[in-house]
Structures are given as structure tokens and as C-alpha cells.
């Protein structure tokens, strides 16, 4: 884990008309790791991701993503990060191939490169037999897979996944987790994911950050958090955390 930090924030704060969404967040994510944001709904996970992408401006504080300031150069950051939002939609009357080539076009890829990447991405997410089907007819699980494929088209160094398993059945959830592990291992992708499900985060993430009401309460590898903060084993820690943040 002695690698350089790919994402760093310092005192990152976002205030939405009186309400503090993210409160002096200091965070660092290392190259190649899978980092999990854990916290109940409304803890500021999504807002943090949006600020790191340059989609919202922080009220105060600094952020650096791949040594670029997302507030100042959002386009540059957006080119390097793949983002999968929580409730994403698709253009229902396009088929999967058209959806992906649209993303490729927005990223300025040539047709040849785009076709190659679409092929690979569809294979990776297991949709290679559905490329000509209209996205409007896709099931929830398939849409989620297509979302990942969209992200892979960019071949990003960093992937932000906001609640990637939301609304998926156990099988699909398993599949998603295995895919995330695979991307991290084989593509050397840094993954930042947010979830309110502890056991998922625990399974794939190298390090976790627990957020409650906009504050980062704890940050580090699971075992270390368990030992240092509470002096218990991982299993007991899981139980305690679940009880504390009410999940």
C-alpha cells in the first residue's frame, strides 16, 4: 500500500442552504485500491463524489484528483474518471451499442477504438448477446451492467460507483462485487464505491471510510479500524458498526 495518493481532500465542506452535507472531510485514496464509503442515507457520500468529479463546487476546502483540482478543471477530471450515478437512466430508444458509442463519441474516441472498446466492455459485463436490444427493454440488472460498460468505454484510471448494487438481487450483487474485484486486480483500476451495506463494502474494499452526517468518523483498513478503535475482532466490529449507524 506504499503508493501515492490518487485522491486527496482537505477540509472539504459542502453546505446546502443551511444544511451541512459534507463537513470538513479529509480523505486520501491510494492508487489501485478499492475504497468504500460507508454510511446511512444522507451521510454525504454522493455529495462527496460529486465534488470530486467537479459536478458541484465545494463551499470550502480543497480536493485533488490525479493531481488536478476538480473545481478548476472539471473537464480534465471528468475525462479520467468513470462515474456511475446512483439512479442512472438511459436513452430507452437506443440499443446498447448506440448507447456505448455515444459515450465514446463524447470522449472523443475514434470509431475504430470505440468499436474495439465496446466489444471488450460488453464481454466484460456479460452483455455480448444483447448489444442490439433496446435499452428500454433492459432489466434492472442489465441496466446496471450497461452502466459499468459505459464506464469501461472511457478506460478510466479511477471509477466512482455510487451504490452500485442498489436494487440488485443477491446473484447480481455477487456478480457486481466479483467484477469490481476483477477490475481492481486486472485493470489496475482505483475504485471508490459508496454503499450503505457493510458486508459488501467489507468484502471488496481494501480500506473503508465511515461517514455519518457529513463527517468522516473513521478511515482505514477494516481490521485496523476494528483493532484500534474498538479493540475487537472484525466480526464483532461489523456488528457494532451496524448497530451504531443503524443499518
Amino acid at each position: 500500500m506504499e503508493k501515492q495518493a490518487i485522491i486527496e481532500t482537505e477540509g472539504l465542506t459542502k453546505i446546502y442552504s443551511q444544511q451541512v452535507a459534507v463537513d470538513h472531510l479529509s480523505l486520501s485514496v491510494m492508487e489501485g485500491e478499492v475504497f468504500g464509503f460507508l454510511g446511512p442515507n444522507g451521510a454525504g457520500k454522493t455529495t462527496t463524489l460529486l465534488m470530486l468529479l467537479g459536478l458541484t463546487e465545494p463551499t470550502s476546502g480543497k480536493a485533488r484528483v490525479l493531481s488536478v483540482d476538480p473545481t478548476r478543471e472539471p473537464i480534465k477530471v471528468k475525462g479520467m474518471i468513470g462515474y456511475m450515478p446512483e439512479n442512472m437512466g438511459f436513452y430507452g430508444d437506443l440499443n446498447a451499442r448506440q448507447t456505448l458509442s455515444f459515450v465514446a463519441e463524447l470522449n472523443g474516441l475514434s470509431r475504430k477504438v470505440a468499436d474495439e472498446r465496446i466489444e471488450i466492455a460488453m464481454k466484460t459485463v456479460g452483455l455480448e448477446n444483447e448489444t442490439e436490444k433496446k435499452v428500454g427493454a433492459y432489466s434492472r440488472g442489465m441496466r446496471q451492467r450497461l452502466g459499468i460498460a459505459e464506464l469501461l468505454i472511457k478506460e478510466p484510471k479511477v471509477a466512482f460507483l455510487d451504490e452500485p448494487t442498489l436494487g440488485l438481487d443477491p446473484d447480481a450483487t455477487n456478480w457486481m462485487m466479483e467484477l469490481i474485484e476483477k477490475l481492481s486486480r486486472e485493470n489496475k483500476m482505483t475504485v471508490v464505491l459508496s454503499s450503505h451495506l457493510l458486508h459488501l463494502v467489507q468484502r471488496v474494499c481494501h480500506r473503508i471510510g465511515i461517514m455519518i452526517k457529513g463527517k468522516m468518523v473513521a478511515q482505514g483498513p477494516m481490521e485496523q479500524l476494528a483493532r484500534e478503535k474498538l479493540g475487537v475482532g472484525t466480526e464483532k466490529f461489523t456488528g457494532i458498526i451496524s448497530a451504531v449507524i443503524g443499518l
Binding site: 468529479l53 459536478l55 473537464i75 480534465k76 471528468k78 475525462g79 474518471i81 462515474y83 450515478p85 439512479n87 442512472m88 437512466g89 438511459f90 436513452y91 459515450v103 463524447l106 470522449n107 472523443g108 459505459e150
Partner: protein, 169 residues
């Protein structure tokens, strides 16, 4: 889609009725007066003239096209994905606007061309170059401007179009 079809249909019906009227009028006159051809657009059919019709329904189309072009993306959850791609926000908005303008241009141009053709056949008068130039082109471009889906632009063009068009023709 349905609205487009409806507007085209109504425009054609108006033009047809006006055309019939003009043909009758012309039969009783010794020569051909100036700007007969443009009367296709400006004289009343049963209830209203084509110009009035476009002035009334054009903005409606503009509004329908315009009012939720960004909101729809947001509601369907495609906006956040679109904005997380490395493109400028301006290009999203400009592209939306341009798409609306082009759609309306195609609609207006085809309606005017259809009516021109219909008029040629019915009235039997060939429009002079000044009629084509001032009448049809001005009518088309003003209508496009006027109808263009911009919540801000259309109140501005409303009096302008209403006042100028009938005078010009």
C-alpha cells in the same frame, strides 16, 4: 409528432380553402393584381389565416420542445451521466437549442414549400421574385426565430412578429 402532423394538416387545409377563394376572385378580374400569391398566406380561410395560425401555434410547439429538454434528462437520470463526460455544459445546452431550432426550421420550410406547390397548382399564378424573397423567406425565417424554443426569446419576438409580418406582406 402528432402536433407536427396536425399543424401541417391544418396549414394545408387553410391554404386549400384560401386557394379556392383566390381562384374565384381572380376569375372575375381582368388582370392579375400584385402579391396575389402571398395572399395564400395572409388572407383568411374559414376562421384565420395561415400567418395567424403559425403565430398562435408556433410558440406552442416551441414551448413544448423547449420547456423540458433539460428537465427530461434530469428526470430520467441521464443528465448526471452526460455531465460526468468530458464535455462543456454549454455544449449540452447549445446542442439542445440547436436541435429545437432545426426541428422547427424543417417543419416551417416544408409547410411553406408544400403550400407554395399547392398554390401554384390551384391559383395558377407564378410568384414574382420579390414575393418569394420578401414574403416566403421572411415569413419562414421570422417564424423560425419566433417559434424557436427559448423561453426568453419568444416573448421578445411575439410583438415583433405579429406587428411586422402582416405589414410586410
Amino acid at each position: 409528432m402528432i402536433l407536427f402532423a396536425l399543424i401541417t394538416m391544418v396549414s394545408l387545409i387553410i391554404a386549400y380553402m384560401v386557394g379556392l377563394g383566390i381562384r374565384e376572385e381572380l376569375a372575375g378580374l381582368p388582370g392579375v393584381p400584385r402579391y396575389v400569391f402571398l395572399m395564400l398566406f395572409t388572407s383568411r380561410g374559414a376562421v384565420f389565416s395561415l400567418v395567424q395560425f403559425v403565430a398562435f401555434f408556433g410558440p406552442l410547439i416551441g414551448l413544448i420542445l423547449g420547456f423540458d429538454m433539460i428537465n427530461r434528462e434530469r428526470n430520467e437520470g441521464t443528465l448526471s451521466k452526460l455531465l460526468s463526460q468530458p464535455i462543456y455544459r454549454d455544449s449540452v445546452i447549445n446542442g439542445k437549442f440547436l436541435a429545437g431550432v432545426i426541428t422547427i426550421s424543417i417543419m416551417m420550410i416544408s409547410i411553406v414549400l408544400l403550400i407554395t406547390g399547392l398554390g401554384l397548382r390551384m391559383v395558377g399564378v407564378v410568384p414574382g421574385s420579390d414575393e418569394l424573397w420578401y414574403g416566403e423567406l421572411v415569413f419562414m425565417s421570422l417564424s423560425v426565430l419566433f417559434t424557436s424554443p427559448s423561453g426568453l426569446a419568444w416573448p421578445f419576438f411575439f410583438p415583433f412578429c405579429f406587428g411586422v409580418l402582416p405589414l410586410q406582406l
